[in-house]
């Protein structure tokens, strides 16, 4: 086994782990998606409490996955960490601000003497719910559309504009993915609420909201996919490492790599199936289709960005500054060390599953909210 562990193998391996974490992060953003309904879905205070408590028991998973995603990126592709975070300063700062206010909002909202009032904290949840998925989606879109930066001989980054990442909003394709992720998060949030809350009146409204949110999601997702596959992509020459813009590059990768094609198509079909179930069938079970479907689609998009010779963090200002799995990665020693540490991941998934099941065995009811105990 040791013989097959080359530097290239480890770079690919860590890109798969990063892609998996990204997929899980987008799925877990059902918490953010659910938060966007905090003012519109409930009709009574007790219903709002049920929604917030249902989501609140999972917020830390999303948060932890985001932190681990950042840590894993830092460890495996430090040049991306240095370039993107140090360059697209305002985008990452906006994402961070939205996550700070989320973390405290759950714990503080229902506590007496919380200074700013429950409605303010619910507002924090709403802002995080909208901004978090949208900005993360927009940031990921730049993996395909490029960013305005250049690197010097010592890999120090200079950003081309004073907007430091916010200029990505000038590109409609980035909006498409940002909005697709936002509406996907809302759909997932609705499905999760249907799965975890026992309240008929709410479930009826959830079905209606699912129908309404599916349409913009499909429009934005298909628009992004269309532009992605029809447009140009950033290709690194396998021999020289030289980067060039190639027409239909991502379409070529998708068609030439059966595994990615199956992952992408399978994921899309599964998400569509979950929407069908959510709207016309048992809404409570839809999340179990949507989850794997989401993870598959996101992984496939990350694979398109990183594999098949793609430059995963392209520079639109200076093509040769673009980052690839080869030039942005950690050394072989570090990747190998982290490779062994990643063997813990299955154990982590197992205990998360056990704890998740233990807490979600019984659905949240209005009676439970009246019982007391730790409550948001």
């Amino acid at each position: 086994m040791t013989a097959m562990i080359s530097h290239a193998f480890l770079q690919d391996y860590w890109w798969i782990i990063i892609s998996l974490l990204a997929g899980l992060l987008v799925f877990l953003m059902f918490v953010q998606g659910g938060q966007t309904f905090v003012f519109t879905l409930p009709r009574t205070d007790i219903q709002r409490t049920m929604i917030v408590n249902s989501l609140g028991r999972k917020w830390e998973f999303t948060f932890t996955t985001l932190v681990t995603f950042g840590g894993a990126f830092f460890a495996s592709f430090p040049l991306f960490y240095a370039t993107s975070f140090g360059g697209a300063y305002w985008v990452w700062m906006a994402i961070l601000f939205s996550f700070i206010i989320q973390a405290v909002a759950y714990e503080f909202r229902s506590k007496p003497s919380n200074v700013f009032g429950t409605r303010t904290y619910d507002g924090f949840l709403f802002v995080n719910g909208c901004l978090g998925p949208f900005l993360i989606g927009t940031a990921v879109a730049t993996f395909f559309t490029g960013s305005d930066f250049s690197l010097d001989l010592f890999n120090r980054v200079t950003w081309g504009t004073g907007w430091h990442g916010l200029e990505a909003l000038a590109n409609p394709v980035n909006w498409f993915l940002g909005l697709a992720v936002l509406f996907l998060a809302r759909i997932l949030g609705l499905m999760y609420l249907a799965n975890s809350i026992e309240e008929n009146e709410l479930v009826i409204r959830i079905k209606k909201a699912l129908k309404l949110n599916s349409i913009p999601f499909l429009v934005f997702f298909l628009s992004f996919t269309g532009f992605l596959l029809a447009g140009k992509g950033y290709l690194a020459d396998s021999a020289t490492g030289e980067i060039s813009l190639v027409k239909h590059h991502y379409l070529n990768v998708l068609l030439s790599r059966t595994g990615i094609l199956i992952l992408f198509a399978g994921g899309v079909v599964t998400v569509l199936l979950s929407l069908y179930h959510g709207i016309f069938g048992n809404s409570g079970k839809a999340i179990w289709y949507a989850g794997p479907g989401t993870v598959s689609v996101v992984m496939a998009l990350f694979f398109l960005a990183g594999f098949g010779g793609s430059a995963f963090y392209p520079s639109s200002a200076d093509l040769q500054s673009s980052l690839t799995l080869v030039n942005a990665s950690s050394s072989m020693f570090t990747l190998k060390t982290m490779f062994y540490i990643s063997f813990f991941i299955p154990f982590i998934l197992i205990y998360i599953w056990i704890a998740w099941r233990a807490l979600n065995r019984k659905k949240i009811t209005a009676a439970e909210m009246a019982e007391g105990g730790h409550k948001y």
């Binding site: 998973f61 948060f63 932890t64 932190v67 681990t68 950042g70 840590g71 894993a72 830092f74 460890a75 495996s76 430090p78 960490y81 240095a82 370039t83 140090g86 360059g87 300063y89 990452w92 700062m93 961070l96 700070i100 206010i101 973390a103 405290v104 714990e107 503080f108 506590k111 007496p112 003497s113 919380n114 200074v115 700013f116 010097d152 001989l153 890999n155 120090r156 980054v157 200079t158 950003w159 430091h164 950690s330 050394s331 020693f333 570090t334 060390t337 982290m338 540490i341 990643s342 982590i348 205990y351 998360i352 704890a355 233990a358 807490l359 019984k362 019982e371 007391g372 105990g373 730790h374």
Partner: protein, 523 residues
Amino acid sequence: MIENIDLSLVNWSRAQFALTAIYHWLFVPLTLGLSFILAFMETAYVRTGDETWKKITKFWMTLFGINFAIGVATGIILEFEFGTNWSNYSWFVGDIFGAPLAVEGILAFFLESTFVAVMFFGWNKVGKKFHLASTWLVAIGANLSALWILIANAWMENPVGMIFNPDTARNEMNSFSDVVFNPVAIDKFTHTVTSGFVLASVFVVGISAWFLLHRREEILARRSIYVAGIFGLASSLLVAMTGDSSARTISKVQPVKFAAMEALYEGQNNAGLTVIGALSGSGEKIGEKEVYDTKMKIQIPGLLSVMTTGNPDGYVPGMKDLINGNPEKGILSVSEMIERGKYARQVLIDFKMAKELGDRESLASLEAKFADKEFTDNYFKYFGYSYFTNVWQVIPAVPVIFYSFRLMVGLGFLFIALFAVALFLYSREQLERRRWFLWLAFFCIPLAYLASELGWVVTEMGRQPWIIQNLMPVHVAVSNISAGSVQVTFFLFAVLFTALLTAEISIMIRQIKNGPKHQEEEK
């Protein structure tokens, strides 16, 4: 770019990181220690079946929860600020520094976040033993996360287990075990987490004392003082031991920081440890930095020599030795280190240029230099010094470090006495009658926070101007963004953190005033 660095950008970036770290550290030590206190209390409940223990556990758990969320929120900022504000650093050492951060996420954060949900919401959903295991796992997870981030922090102070790769212009890890078992990391972890245990114990004893002063919740207060008193006493003794070991290590790997902690300018045999003293300017200067005399000092003769060399007659170098050099003692002057560092940097620049121009002959000879031990040990070792123009630039802010260190140590000894007296009075059943002690215990709460923050002031101010000892100064590590951008985010963070801290304190006070009886009534 580096040559034209904007110092106001460096200062604002430092201020932002310091602000975030100071706020973060207001919440973390309580999490580290209170999580174990909760585990002890719940274990008592499960073993005895006594519902009072459960009630006590749930009361402290409520305070834990309020504190925990804001600690998590400020923590995520710190991780990402390495990239947003210190991007040159992130590339230069990301190959080594990133790994502990990733391990922290994979091995510790998931453990903590998974089981904290069971701990808060699982009382009526899982069995007693499952719940107890969850509480223990939260404590272990929280302290494991401290382990990994402190390993990363220790590496910045004593960079080990790596080799410089001129091709990528960065340091790369070549021994994970050296990074993990770095002596600074071991000292730092044991000293930091035990100081967190002390803070949490002071917090529990102080709040319990407040209950006794108001003749409320007497059973909760007495039992809490008993648990936190034992935990606190053991921890504070460990803090003293690990502090001693930590100072010993610092004297070897960061001698300038050590000299600043003692305001020791002249090297001495049989050097004494200054217990207390007042610094005053001597009128003498090293470059632009003032030299201080220690007035009104109380010293323990020979102790500093014993601590650092194991011998009462051992020589302890002073700041002047370390800056001007002392050939007799084998200490190189900073001006010589600057020259050697500049040579090493020029070799790197030549290497990169040769690579750019495709000059294979030069490339091969320059590459050979980086593999030559003579070059790496005698020149590249001082790479970071090449960014300085004056020797005094490597001297940190001596008075801040000197006073912070003494205040921290003094408060540490006060806490040892506090826990010892608390346990003595508890055993004699005299807690309620000694109101002076109860007030003292209560007012020790802010002092515990002060001591904890001062520890970081000594650590972080003491290692200035380095972000990575001897390899990279802070001003070279900064991201290439405008100072204005960082100013805006600094004030946004300052307003947001202060607002959230205000809310947190307000909620905490209300929950404490309500007490566990109110919680029961709420049901």
